[in-house]
Structures are given as structure tokens and as C-alpha cells.
């Protein structure tokens, strides 16, 4: 599976997408050779044939020729445009995760990768994923910019501080491969690597069972929700307190009306901002009284809280499940 070979000329593939990228690259190489090889051949032939001393017809006039110029402008351009469209299509695919993808949260920090599975399993510098199921990585950095790179998937995405970025892939074979940090991030940049372990679906389920799964991500968030006193204001129904704050049930994915008249979709980025920068977007009809939690919570805790609030999406504000 992962024999350390001394000499290697082509990287392994572990997804259908990787195969498509390779195909694109090979096609493009062929096309480029078509445009470049004639130049090399002409250079060699001309420098041999027209060298000083050889007896060949010469002509000092070379004013240029518009037809020739236009030919070698238009042909490569058209060829490149076809490949541009094809590669944009692939790029679009690689940047738009399918809706049913399994979401794994990634927190990068100097110089390690932390992963949180939906079931609450946590890993450092190792990532177990199931084969044959789209996996969406939702990533954030705690310090500098990093970049998660899986050569076998032909995919990478920078991991930024302060913003979630996303990457997805669907593995089509089991195996153990290396992933790396591709964006230079300081002293031990080169040691910031990940072991990507792709398991058959049933093996993955088994692995999930064996790992520490005392609490799901949302349950962990629920604990934090109480621990940091969020429930004091954001409770609805019978526990509603004196302080009026927007109820969070059914919030996730909804279109929220804001105090300045605009609207926002309550996605994870919105909820993250609301926790860390509560004054940024105020829900219409509420006082801007929420304190910021930016110095209190780290990115992993925020991810748990978001998971908890997300789990409330299916609950109606009156407490009933539809």
C-alpha cells in the first residue's frame, strides 16, 4: 500500500477526482508539447543548417508576416481555452462539497493538525476516513496560515485564522497516505504532516466504536453551552430568563433578519462570528448586550458549540421536534 520506494515518478491516486486531474495534466502536457517541440526542433535545425560556413540559400529580409503571426497567436490560445474550461469545471467540483458529505472539523496550529469527527472522536496528526463516502473538512487555524494538502487526492486548501475554509474528497480505495502542510508556517513547518488512513466502511465503523466516543460533538457543545452560561440568556420556553436573547432552536440554516435591515444565513461562519464578535451582526429586535467570547473560547470549543447549535436546527422554537 505504502511501500517506501527510493525512486518514484508518479504519485498514487486515491479518488476518482485525482484520476481526472491526472488526465487533465497529461492532456495539457501533450498539447503544450505540440506547441513547444516545433520550436526546439526548428532551433536545432536552423542553428545547424544556417551556421556560418554552410552553403545554403539565405535571405537578409525578414520583415514579418501577419498571417503567420496570427496563426501562432490564435491556435495556442484556442487550445488553452478548451483546457481552461475543463480545468475550471474540475476546480468547481473540488470547491463545492456535496450536501450529504460527512463533516470533519479541522483545527490547525503550529505545528499540528487536530481533527474532530461528528461522533466526538478526536485525533491529532492522523485522520481516519471511510472509503466511498464524501468527506468534507471544515478547517480553521489558531495562529498562522496553514494549508492541508493530500497529494493522493490532488487537493489542498489553505487554512486561515478567523475564517472557515472547506475541502472535500471521496476516497475510492483503502490505504495509508501522507498529507502535509503546504503553506509555510514557521520553524517546524516540514514536520506538520498528517497520516491519512482510508478504511473500508465497516472498518471505519469499527474504528469509531473503538475510539473514545463518550460524547458526540454536539453533546460536548451542550456541556460548554451550560458551562459558559450561554443557557442563561439563550433559553426559550419555560426556562426563559429575564435577559432577552434570540432563541437558538431552529436557527441553523435559517435566514436571519439583522438590526441594520440586511439578512444573513445562519451558517457555521455566522454562528462563529456571533460568539466571538457578537456586535458584528445584531439580530433584529434584540439589544446588543452579548459579551464577546473571543478571549475565552478556543477554536475547538467554538466548533463544539456550533455543532450543538446546529443540532438544535431540527427542534422548533417551542421545543417540539417536527
Amino acid at each position: 500500500m505504502n511501500e517506501s520506494t527510493f525512486i518514484k515518478f508518479w504519485p498514487e491516486q486515491a479518488s476518482q477526482y485525482a484520476g481526472q486531474v491526472d488526465w487533465l495534466v497529461v492532456t495539457f502536457t501533450g498539447m503544450m508539447l505540440l506547441f513547444v517541440l516545433p520550436v526546439f526542433i526548428c532551433l536545432l535545425v536552423f542553428s545547424f543548417r544556417y551556421r556560418v560556413g554552410s552553403k545554403v540559400p539565405r535571405d537578409h529580409r525578414s520583415i514579418g508576416n501577419h498571417k503567420i503571426e496570427m496563426t501562432w497567436i490564435v491556435l495556442p490560445f484556442l487550445g488553452a481555452m478548451i483546457l481552461f474550461v475543463l480545468s475550471s469545471r474540475l476546480y468547481y467540483i473540488s470547491r463545492t462539497p456535496p450536501a450529504d458529505a460527512m463533516e470533519i472539523h479541522v483545527v490547525a496550529k503550529q505545528w499540528m493538525w487536530k481533527f474532530q469527527h461528528p461522533g466526538g472522536q478526536r485525533e491529532i496528526n492522523t485522520l481516519h476516513i471511510p472509503q466511498g463516502r464524501p468527506v468534507k473538512l471544515s478547517m480553521i487555524s489558531q495562529d498562522a496560515i496553514h494549508s492541508l494538502y493530500f497529494p493522493v487526492m490532488r487537493n489542498k486548501q489553505d487554512v486561515l485564522p478567523g475564517t472557515y475554509t472547506y475541502m472535500w474528497f471521496e476516497a475510492n480505495r483503502p490505504g495509508s497516505f501522507e498529507g502535509k502542510c503546504a503553506e509555510y508556517c514557521g520553524t517546524d513547518h516540514s514536520t506538520m504532516r498528517v497520516r491519512l488512513i482510508i478504511l473500508k466502511p465497516q472498518e471505519y465503523e469499527q474504528w469509531l466504536q473503538e475510539s473514545d466516543t463518550s460524547q458526540s460533538l454536539a453533546r460536548q457543545g451542550d456541556d460548554l453551552f451550560r458551562q459558559f452560561g450561554c443557557s442563561g440568556c439563550h433559553a426559550a420556553g419555560p426556562d426563559a430568563s429575564l435577559v432577552r436573547a434570540p432563541p437558538l432552536e431552529g436557527l441553523y440554516g435559517r435566514n436571519v433578519a439583522l438590526a441594520d435591515g440586511s439578512h444573513a444565513i445562519a451558517d457555521s461562519a455566522y454562528i462563529r462570528d456571533s460568539i466571538l464578535l457578537p456586535q458584528k451582526q445584531i439580530t433584529a429586535g434584540y439589544e446588543p448586550i452579548m459579551p464577546t467570547f473571543s478571549n475565552v473560547l478556543d477554536e475547538e470549543s467554538v466548533i463544539r458549540l456550533v455543532a450543538y447549535i446546529k443540532s438544535l436546527a431540527t427542534t422548533q422554537p417551542n421545543g417540539e421536534t417536527p
Partner: protein
């Protein structure tokens, strides 16, 4: 063709002999002497940058990272990048060859703003020494790109000092750019219309436009990085309300055009060298001329291709990818036209020609590999890997440095009045071609295999190709050291050069080698086209 060669035998002392003593050099306003000063400075910086490159290649012989500490390695590649980009590649051709040749090529006595010209040298030399001291004594581990928030919050080292040095040097670039533009506009000899200008002048004019317009954006960006590091005004720090992607936008708004600052002058040199070795007019003069201008303008519209995986919006990425394909067109035009010029020519094979061949070959490989990086889905895979490293070294070292060396050999007789040893010149050129490809071609494969750049240690599977690369670097070191020795030797022992040893066209060859202080005894009147080779120059006697 230049008709009168009578004044070649004039007894006016050359610019080298007209004055003597250190002061006559350090306070000179003669563009030719300032060019020599620049040559000494950039040679020194090239040497320093190469030492750092050597350290990097030695480190990468083994996968473990046992030669340098991680910080030592990071500082080495930062030093290599900063010195090579701002203190060698950017000033090399414009300030050395451009300074020396532009007045001679357009029939002027000097540059338009001679004192600014000298100030430009002091800024480069002063800024360079300052930066180098900071890089060696304190060390900076941000890479030459100074990406935030790493450079503002997490890097320990003399970031601010290095930025100050680069900032100062920016003024040197701006001064040179202003000077070249004003000179070309105001000091052309009577009859020297725009379409009679040598293509070298066209390309340097386009380069200067970039220098003048892009450098200030780098200046303000670096200033804001300093403000963030010193005062906590977090323009690029998300925790303080800023956006690190904005830094990348502004940085690449300068640094992508900066690639053309390094490459365009090289293209200009090659246009001269191609015609001189072919002894005929260039194929499609106006296409080559306008492609320089097109590159100068389009070069400012493609910077987002450095940010395809940085978190930039998908649609912006697609737009930048499309524009990046457009800029390949003017580059392709040049390569095809150079090749077409050789058709039915009378081709002299000498060291400058070998450098020209090296340039065209490596530039085409570098340029096409650049298209892979512009190709969205391919770039997602190879971005920030050795593929990119190989790509830009093909352009900046393979192409630009070869052009500098080719130009140096070609105009060496004019600059110094001495001929370089031809055999050694050819040996060095061929060694450079072999050494370069040995060093950098394996890096394309390494990158596609997935080895990220700026890695101090790496997986053992990459070792073989890294070893090939490191051994190539040793060959390359010899190839770069050779000219240093034989060119210096030729200064003392080389045979005297005549005014026009290559039978080349162009005003610069109509004056003695080395030229007198004011270049032309009388203002030349230009009544001939560029590359005005007579039929017999091409047909020759054999």
C-alpha cells in the same frame, strides 16, 4: 548599417580613462560608470544569494534535515529569496546593461537624470548591505513573501529591519524606472523614432513602467506590516479585524508584475542577441515590441493565480486563471519570432548565441510549466510544491540569469574594451545549461509527487530526485563561477576589442570600445531602421 566608422579611431580618452581615483567613481554621474558600480554590487549580492542556495541544496541531500537547524534552513531560504529577488534579479539587467546601453542605443550623451541615477545605486548598495546584515546577524524566517500573520505575529527575527531594507531599495527601483522612461522619451537622437528603437529599449521601457507603478504598492504593504508588528494596527490580522488575504492581494499586485521586471529585460537582451547572431532583422519587429507593452499591462491583471487555494473566491480564481492564459500569448509571440528570425540567416555560433539558445529553451519550458500553474485544477495540486519552485526558477534563473550572462558576454567588449576568451565562454554556457536542467527538472517531478516547498526535512521517497537536484546545483555553481574568473582575467590579459567585434547593427557599436565619456562626438542622426543589416551581412562570403 552604420556607415561612418571613421571616428572610431578618435583619440578621445575612454570613459574608463578620463578620470582616475576612487572619488571619480563614487561621485560619478556618467551612466557607464554607474553601470559598472551596479555590476559590482549585483555580483556581490548574487554571490551571497548563491551561498544560501548552496546551503539549501546541501541540506536537502538527506531527508532528515541534519545539516542546518529548522530555523537555520528557514533563514537560508529567506535570505536566498530576498537577496536574489530584490538585490540581484530586479536590478541586474535594467541597472547594469540598461544603464550602460540605453543612452548608447538611442544616441544620447547620458541618462536624463544622472544624479538620480547615482542616488539609485547608493540606495541599492546601502539598502542591500543593511538588509544583508539584518538577514545574517538577526535572521528572518518568513520567506521572501512575508505572509501575514506569520510575519507580524509569529515570526521571531529582524522582520522590521529586513522590510526597512527592502523599502529603501524600492526607491532605487523607482529611480531607475523613472530615469529610463524619461530618457527614452526625451533623449532619442534626431531620426530615432519609436519604431527604430532596438527592442532592448522597448522591453526596458515596459519594465520601467512596472517598476514605477508596482513598487509603491509593495512599499505601502510593507509599511502596514511594520505598523502591525510594531503598533498592533492589525490591517492583516484577523484577530484585530484585518484580513490576511488582503495582504496577499496587495503583495502579489507587486510581486507578480515583479516577475516581469525580472524577465522582460532578459527578453530585450535576447532580441538583440538573436539578431546579432543571425545577422538579420528580427522577424515581426512590431509584434515583439508590442508584446513587451502587453506584458507590462496584462502583468498587473493576473496576480490572483497565486491565491487559487488561499481562500480567494472561486469566481475570482476563474477570472484570474483566464487572464493568466492571455498573458501567455505575448510571451509565445516573442519565442516564435526569435526562432523565425534564424530562418535563412547566417548564424554565428559563439558564447552569446549559446546563452540565447539556453534562454529560449528554458524560457519555453518555464513558460509552459507556468500554464500548468494557471490551470486551476492542476494548480490546486501543485501549488506550494516543488513544481512551482521549478517553474519560477526556469523563468528567473534559467531565462533571466542566462540572458544577463549572455548580454554580459555580448557587450563585454563594449563595456571593458577587452575580448573574453571565447572557448571558456562556450564551456561555461554549455555547463550552465546542463547544470541548470539537472538541478531543476527533477523538481517538477518532485512537485507533482507532492513534495511541498520550504521543507527542511522530507519523506525518504523523495530522496533520489533531491540528490539529482543537489548534484546539478554543484555543476551550476561551477558554471556561474567560471565567468567570474575568465571575465576578470580578460580585464588584464584579454585581447583589445575593436569597436564592433560582432559586425552587429545598432548605435552602440558605432562608438569605440570602451566609449568616450560623452558617447558620441557629434549628435548622431538616425536615418536607418533597427537591425539594419545589409544583404552582404547575411549572405556573407560563405
Amino acid at each position: 548599417m552604420i556607415s561612418e566608422t571613421s571616428h572610431v579611431a578618435s583619440t578621445e580618452p575612454s570613459y574608463l580613462e578620463v578620470e582616475h581615483g576612487l572619488k571619480s567613481w563614487l561621485l560619478t554621474t556618467d551612466h557607464k560608470r554607474i553601470a559598472i558600480l551596479f555590476m559590482i554590487a549585483v555580483t556581490f549580492f548574487f554571490f551571497v544569494g548563491s551561498l544560501a542556495a548552496g546551503a539549501i541544496r546541501i541540506e536537502l541531500i538527506t531527508p532528515q534535515g541534519d545539516f542546518l537547524t529548522p530555523d537555520g534552513y528557514n533563514r537560508s531560504f529567506t535570505l536566498h529569496g530576498v537577496i536574489m529577488v530584490w538585490f540581484f534579479l530586479i536590478p541586474s539587467i535594467p541597472s547594469v546593461l540598461g544603464n550602460f546601453l540605453i543612452p548608447l542605443m538611442i544616441g544620447a550623451k547620458d541618462m536624463a537624470l544622472p544624479r538620480m541615477n547615482l542616488a539609485s545605486w547608493y540606495l541599492l548598495a546601502g539598502g542591500g548591505l543593511f538588509t544583508m546584515t539584518a538577514l545574517i546577524a538577526g535572521g528572518v524566517d518568513t520567506g521572501w513573501t512575508f505572509y501575514t500573520p506569520l510575519s507580524t505575529m509569529f515570526s521571531h527575527g529582524h522582520v522590521v529591519a529586513v522590510i526597512a531594507g527592502v523599502f529603501i531599495t524600492g526607491f532605487s527601483s523607482i529611480f531607475t524606472g523613472i530615469n529610463i522612461i524619461v530618457t527614452v522619451h526625451t533623449l532619442r537622437a534626431p531620426g530615432m523614432t519609436w519604431f527604430r528603437l532596438p527592442l532592448f529599449v522597448w522591453s526596458l521601457y515596459a519594465t520601467s513602467v512596472i517598476l514605477v507603478l508596482a513598487t509603491p504598492v509593495l512599499a505601502i504593504t510593507l509599511l502596514l506590516v511594520v505598523a502591525e508588528r510594531f503598533f498592533g494596527i492589525g490591517v492583516f490580522d484577523p484577530r484585530l479585524g484585518g484580513d490576511p488575504l488582503l495582504f496577499q492581494h496587495l503583495f502579489w499586485f507587486y510581486s507578480h508584475p515583479a516577475v516581469y521586471i525580472m524577465l522582460l529585460p532578459g527578453m530585450g537582451v535576447i532580441s538583440e542577441l538573436v539578431t546579432a547572431s543571425a545577422h538579420k532583422r528580427i522577424f515581426g519587429y512590431s509584434f515583439v515590441a508590442f508584446s513587451s507593452v502587453a506584458i507590462a499591462i496584462l502583468g498587473f491583471m493576473v496576480w490572483g493565480h497565486h491565491m487559487f487555494v488561499a481562500g480567494q473566491s472561486m469566481y475570482a480564481s476563474m477570472l484570474f486563471s483566464l487572464l493568466s492564459f492571455l498573458i501567455a500569448i505575448p510571451s509565445a509571440i516573442k519565442s516564435y519570432n526569435w526562432t523565425a528570425t534564424y530562418f535563412k540567416s547566417r548564424l554565428t555560433i559563439n558564447a552569446p548565441f549559446l546563452y540565447t539558445l539556453t534562454f529560449i529553451t528554458l524560457f519555453l519550458l518555464g513558460g509552459t510549466s507556468g500554464l500548468f500553474v494557471a490551470l486551476l485544477a492542476a494548480d490546486v495540486h501543485v501549488h506550494d510544491t516543488y513544481f512551482v519552485v521549478a517553474h519560477f526558477h526556469y523563468i528567473m534563473v534559467g531565462a533571466a540569469v542566462s540572458a544577463y550572462f549572455g548580454g554580459l558576454h555580448f557587450w563585454w567588449p563594449k563595456i571593458t574594451g577587452k575580448m573574453y576568451p571565447e572557448l571558456w565562454g562556450r564551456v561555461a554556457a554549455v555547463t550552465m545549461f546542463i547544470g541548470f536542467n539537472l538541478t531543476f527538472f527533477p523538481q517538477f517531478i518532485l512537485g507533482y509527487l507532492g513534495m511541498p516547498r520550504r521543507y527542511h526535512s522530507y519523506s525518504p521517497e523523495y530522496q533520489f530526485l533531491n540528490d539529482v537536484s543537489s548534484s546539478g546545483a554543484a555543476v551550476l555553481a561551477v558554471a556561474y563561477a567560471l565567468p567570474f574568473f575568465y571575465l576578470t582575467w580578460s580585464l588584464f590579459k584579454g585581447p583589445q576589442a575593436i569597436a564592433n567585434p560582432w559586425q552587429a547593427a545598432g548605435l552602440e557599436w558605432s562608438v569605440p570600445s570602451p566609449p568616450p565619456k560623452h558617447n558620441f562626438p557629434n549628435v548622431p542622426v538616425v536615418d536607418f531602421e533597427a537591425y539594419d543589416y545589409p544583404p552582404e551581412a547575411t549572405r556573407g562570403r560563405n
